[in-house]
Symmetry: C2
Subunit: 457 residues, 2 copies
């Protein structure tokens, strides 16, 4: 029987319905309301990626509570299609799925990322009891069901996802071990002295944190995984092993279509998220990124970055309107560990030194409310990293309360705008007893003062 | 008996120990560690000014919990003296109190502000039961003691202090009426549609909110105040009347010393907080301010502004080190009403129109967590005000959760740095389910998109 493909025509075809794809679609529709915009994605239900860890504990408790809505896009007149694109013919401007041949004028790859597993452990991923954390509701539900009656869980990886998962599972009464290959948790975002504060909270939650030891092999009984053997020789028994060892760009479709890939496998794009072919764009985790300061290829994958790229692409599809582009990725992270918020923007002191940047740092510890007797007031620490000679701020880290989640975005803007420490010294801010630290000892400004003093040494 | 004055010599004399004076002292000591710095202030115990309303309700409950500590300053080697400066001889570089003659090289006026009362009501302030809200522990304690056994309290003024006081008193079980002369509360910071949301929360807390009606006279029974008569003729019976009708610069000392005052009575200063005499500075509420955008004289009095001025002055005492100065005051406010945070930076739409600025606005309402099923998630609305032609952001208002207290500081920085809406369109930010709105619909960026679209109409 010959398969008959349904022919579809659109102006803008977006492959992928995650944060990047969704934002491209909405931005494009806002900017080019007359264009027919079509998003094709594999699954009916799409998870909010950053909240996946919270499915596994009391915070959300269910993947049903973590569905990304496309209601707004539909209201705007964006078309949607469920299907898997198998092939793209760039010359013919046509994408093919099992059932459709879709012609387009502009094409956007927003195919995201899939879990990265070290080659040594790859074969073990087929074992019963071994899981990764894909952004796929069906597989996430499988994992959730599997662990329901299990007690011991080992998480491999001490990045944001590993720790957020671990904390939620510990809150659900599981016996959790986290294996971190590095000497500290959250190495991508925090210097060691801040990471140690995170580690204390994690251990205090009852999690066994094994740092500086790699998984050598996953042990099994022929039927299912039973634990991990570490490089040090130690064996940790475990009913479930979750590999939270990062993600890699999902670019086989783009590669097969002849697009150039950059180091780390992302699709090469310019500052407006265009490939060498001005009608083909890539955004989100599948696009290659460069670190804003060092200009080195970047492995950072964040939904917020993806959304920002999506806005640039969606605006730039048919014309360039403002000189912004996406001049490099600034890693801006935040997370909650216990009741404490850890947030970070730009380079850590350690990363800056590795990149041969001559830096000074300034730190300050205060309280996040004022006076300190305000109920719920907690510590707020700020660390700033600046170029010694120019005073340009290239990184910042905060430990504090909920407010730190937005405070770090101010540091992000300072980095993105290439501002110096002098811009911070008499920064005009709002302070309020129930919301912020005191105006007289606002830790961000006090840390800047300490940077300024250090520059003069 | 002839009074013998104790002679004291210092390099830098600061008159006033509030937020501005304290910050000048610490910044000066950091920048000029060899200088002898002396702070003279009237009272041993100084209140944290912004938290005064919280003394009157469950949040703090006592002025003892709201004392500004000078421990850090003392540790740094800053000297303190309790006394009231009665006269300053600028030529002789000497300040005189009852007991001291203090010679200085640099002098900083940080004499703050005192309650402003409309002339029509001024005579009534001597009545028993009528109070203002001075930044003075002794008087605040008197007010607190007086209202303890009273039930009905009328607050005149619907600005931040009036509303914060009113909400705390209502939480303590008092029957509170707030009289606002304007047609909306918080007119200095919010446009009417946002103010209406605040008013609903205030009324819901059991407060009688009488807007658009002025107090004509304070009614008394010959012994104590018994209520207020409004211009409409209505009489509101009340055991206590609190006048929360703003503050005025406390500048008689500076005026007597021959310094020039600006409109609204503040001490005239340049961008580095210097008076015409380069050895005499003024900072905080006693210094004249100009609005950042309109360049008009500004009545804004905020501890955060005072602290920023203090940093500029403290750094600039003996040399100018960086080209920053204090190029106009941006009003950046935040407060909590019920469980909702209201914050504002720069000009409102209304203020901008009154200042003949050709503007566009953009608004967006989302949630402050993502997905919306995250426990505790609430609405987050952002309104941006931009110049129509240049796209420069000149104002922003947010209604949301605790995070809005710091989010508004990002808008403040955008205004201070003269950034355009284009800087916001692909802003790089951190988003996290438990801390922020979704990357795909971050209200600040979505509001910027709506500004951008409005500019093209």
């Amino acid at each position: 029987m010959e398969l008959k493909l349904e022919m579809i025509t659109c102006d803008v075809l977006i492959i992928g319905g995650g944060p990047a794809g969704g934002v491209v679609a909405m931005t494009a529709k806002n900017n080019y309301p007359d264009k027919e915009i079509l998003v094709i994605r594999e699954y009916e239900q799409q998870l909010v990626p950053c909240a996946i860890p919270y499915i596994f504990g009391p915070t959300l408790g269910s993947s049903e509570k973590n569905i990304s809505s496309c209601e707004q896009g539909m209201k705007m007149g964006i078309k949607g299609l469920i299907g898997k694109v198998e092939k793209v013919d760039i010359k013919e401007k046509t994408a093919y799925s099992d059932h459709h041949a879709i012609t387009f004028d502009k094409l956007i790859f927003a195919t995201g990322s899939t879990p990265f597993v070290h080659s040594a452990l790859e074969s073990a991923t087929h074992l019963k009891g071994v899981f990764t954390i894909p952004k796929n509701k069906i597989l996430i539900d499988e994992l959730k069901t599997y662990i329901e009656d299990k007690q011991t869980i080992t998480i491999v990886g001490s990045g944001f996802i590993g720790i957020e998962m671990g904390m939620e599972l510990a809150l659900s009464g599981k016996k959790v071990t986290i294996i971190g290959g590095s000497t500290q948790v959250l190495k991508a975002a925090f210097d060691v002295e801040l990471a140690h504060e995170a580690e204390a909270i994690i251990r205090n939650a009852g999690i066994a944190l094994e740092m500086g030891d790699y998984v050598d092999t996953i042990v099994d009984n022929g039927e299912r995984a039973t634990g991990v053997q570490l490089c040090s020789g130690r064996v940790i028994d475990s009913e479930v092993i979750i590999l939270a060892t990062g993600y890699k760009p999902n670019t086989s479709l783009a590669h097969d279509a002849g697009l150039k890939l950059a180091r780390y496998g992302g699709i090469w794009v310019d500052e407006y998220m265009r490939t060498a072919n001005k009608d083909i764009f890539a955004v989100g985790d599948c696009a290659a990124r460069r670190e804003f300061i060092t200009r080195e290829p970047s492995k950072v994958m964040l939904a917020s970055t993806s959304a920002a790229e999506g806005r640039t692409a969606g605006n730039s599809l048919y014309k360039l309107e403002y000189l912004k582009g996406f001049n490099g990725t600034i890693a801006i992270f935040s997370t909650v560990i216990g009741d404490t918020v850890f947030s970070s923007a730009g380079l850590t002191e350690d990363q800056a030194k590795c990149a041969c940047i001559d830096i000074v740092t300034g730190t300050f510890q205060g309280m996040n409310r004022h006076p300190a007797s305000i109920p719920g007031a907690t510590k707020q620490s700020v660390k700033l990293v600046a170029m010694r000679h120019s005073g340009q701020i290239i990184g910042g880290q905060i430990i504090g309360g909920v407010e730190s989640g937005e405070m770090i975005n101010l540091i992000g803007l300072v980095i993105e705008s290439k501002m110096t420490v002098f811009s911070l010294l008499s920064l005009q801010i709002a302070t309020q007893p129930l919301l912020t630290s005191a105006p007289t000892s606002y830790p961000l400004v006090k840390a800047a003062e300490n940077v300024n003093l250090a520059m003069q040494l």
